[in-house]
């Protein structure tokens, strides 16, 4: 069966969402992941969009941004960003997704300054709502390209806090809850060791070896005893993804 790597990743993302959950939905692959979950295993999930939208139905047409008019049509609620952030800060958001340019072994994300703020090699767009999701959602899922330059021992700048320097850090700095639960990459799926909060490879995509993943990671990556193979998208899932992204803008080759 033929599918693209982004389609595999979106399918894996969709499987992170449980029915009835309140999900803070982002852009691009995370958005597609939510739409796919909403159409399959999580029909009663509620989507919260930081620009001021809550909806519990699919948009009537494919969208490229959260603000495309079909995403406003028959929404459950159109309001202020502060209202959405209130839901998040109260702890009412179960799950959220974040993309990143640079991640480290404890799941801290940098989408601001490669090289750091004082010696800027590359300026990236910044946090948007990512820092808020990473700080306040019950859990968040990271979606990234798996390259050695992106998977570094320590990020140059923490835009979105993960587990900081390990177990207990979030509580120490005052974060009320949460942390990264899963990292879905172009090579596999990673989780965090409950004791150390260090990233650990738990599943590899079809045709990828654990050694290849380790070779593309900037620190000695821990691997689960028997890493699973990431399940492939089903025909049904692929058909739905083609509806959500007909031009393959996000999920094409």
């Amino acid at each position: 069966m033929s599918y693209t790597l982004p389609q595999l990743m979106v399918t894996a993302a969709a499987r992170e969402i449980n029915d009835g959950e309140v999900v803070f939905v982002g852009m691009r692959l995370p958005l597609l992941g939510f739409l796919l979950a909403k159409s399959t295993r999580a029909k009663n999930a509620v989507g919260v969009y930081e620009l001021g939208i809550v909806r519990d139905t699919l948009a009537p047409e494919p969208i490229l941004t959260m603000g495309d008019l079909p995403n406003l049509y028959r929404a459950q609620w159109l309001a202020d960003t502060a209202d959405m952030m209130g839901l998040l800060q109260q702890g009412r958001v179960d799950a959220s997704f974040i993309g990143g340019a640079q991640v480290d072994r404890f799941g801290n994300l940098n989408t601001s300054y490669i090289g750091g703020a004082h010696n800027v090699a590359t300026r990236l767009p910044g946090s948007g709502g990512a820092c808020d999701l990473a700080s306040l959602a019950q859990r968040h899922i990271i979606i990234m390209t798996h390259e050695k330059r992106r998977f570094v021992p320590q990020v140059d700048y923490i835009t979105s806090p993960g587990f900081g320097d390990g177990f207990g850090w979030r509580q120490k700095v005052g974060l009320p809850r949460g942390g990264p639960a899963t990292v879905i990459t172009t090579m596999g799926v990673l989780k965090f060791d409950p004791k150390t909060k260090e990233m650990m490879l738990v599943s590899v995509h079809p045709g990828v070896t654990a050694d290849a993943v380790k070779a593309n990671t900037g620190w000695p990556l821990k691997v689960a005893v028997e890493p699973a193979e990431t399940p492939e998208p089903t025909e049904e899932e692929l058909a739905m993804l083609k509806q959500f992204d007909p031009q393959g803008y996000w999920t094409g080759d």
């Binding site: 620009l51 603000g67 008019l69 946090s127 700080s135 806090p161």
Partner: protein
């Protein structure tokens, strides 16, 4: 009788946005971005502006590229469907821009503090992040009751909020609908408000639905009639997002020379609003217009 505040775009920007102004704009995030007003800032060659907004979606990059900006107070600056913006990236990497790095939540609270007339707002976000290193408006504090560690976000009070909305009367009373983002608090936090609107309507069109008012007239400095003034961003009730324009901008702004060409074509050569509409063209405007209408149920404000 209230004052007629209806002005041409050029006069509104000239009178109410001097050099060195701090401007809150692009406040609804992806929708209702005041591109027409932003381009007028460029034509008038404003200097040393501070731009305040959550994400901006290419407008900030255009004003930055034109050399009008000294300081950015924002959560994200880029092109939502393509990623990085080149003028912004180049100028930060060259140290030519002062950055205050916010998250959407901290910026929302900074403007809400301004709107409420207090010097800060508490939040629980960003703790442990490096935003504190590149944002002097953020401090950690302890809750006076629980002792919990919190983020104190300093108030932002912009000199002017520039908002693009669907309809306004000549007194500045205006309706907005759709996702509102930070619009409400940003307008209330700002010393002045400039409204650009798709339609200028009779006062009763606004006053027959006072709950939909986002800018009460007594707080507004200028009202501008700007059809398609939000293009290429989407305007609920008027037109859809022009994705191709955002993709084109990415491809046409990679180098300073490319951007100069883009700017000449889309900004400098616009001498009247009509000129811009001609550039967009009837065909594209027809493609972007609302095909499936969905009309709100009326409500009664009688007595």
């Amino acid at each position: 009788m209230p004052v007629n505040k209806l002005l041409p775009l050029s006069e509104a920007i000239d009178r109410f946005v001097p050099d060195d102004s701090s401007i809150a704009t692009g406040l609804a995030q992806e929708t209702l971005i005041p591109f027409a007003a932003g381009h007028e800032l460029i034509r008038q060659n404003k200097k040393r502006l501070t731009l305040i907004g959550p994400i901006s979606d290419i407008l900030f990059d255009q004003i930055i590229g034109a050399g009008c900006v000294r300081t950015i107070r924002a959560a994200w600056v880029g092109n939502v469907i393509t990623g990085s913006c080149y003028n912004f990236r180049r100028m930060v990497e060259n140290g030519a821009l002062e950055m205050e790095d916010h998250s959407n939540l901290t910026l929302a609270m900074a403007l809400r503090a301004g709107a409420m007339g207090v010097s800060f707002m508490p939040a629980r976000t960003a703790l442990g992040s490096d935003l504190f290193k590149t944002n002097a408006s953020l401090k950690t504090m302890n809750c006076p009751f629980s002792g919990d560690i919190l983020t104190a976000v300093g108030a932002i009070k912009p000199d002017v909020a520039i908002v693009h909305l669907q309809r306004a009367d000549k007194f500045g009373n205006a309706h907005a609908w759709g996702n509102l983002g930070l619009t409400r608090d940003a307008c209330l936090a700002s010393r002045r408000i400039i409204v650009t609107a798709e339609d200028i309507v009779e006062p009763d069109v606004i006053s027959r639905d006072p709950n939909r008012v986002i800018t009460p007239g007594f707080r507004v400095s200028a009202v501008v009639h700007a059809p398609w003034g939000g293009h290429p961003s989407p305007v609920p009730g008027y037109y859809n997002r022009d994705h191709q324009a955002f993709i084109d901008y990415r491809n046409q702004s990679k180098t300073p020379d490319d951007f100069a060409k883009w700017k000449k074509y889309w900004v400098d050569n616009i001498h009247a609003p009509r000129d811009y509409l001609n550039l967009v063209g009837k065909k594209r405007m027809a493609e972007l217009s609302i095909a499936h209408h969905d009309i709100s149920e009326p409500v009664d404000y009688g007595y």
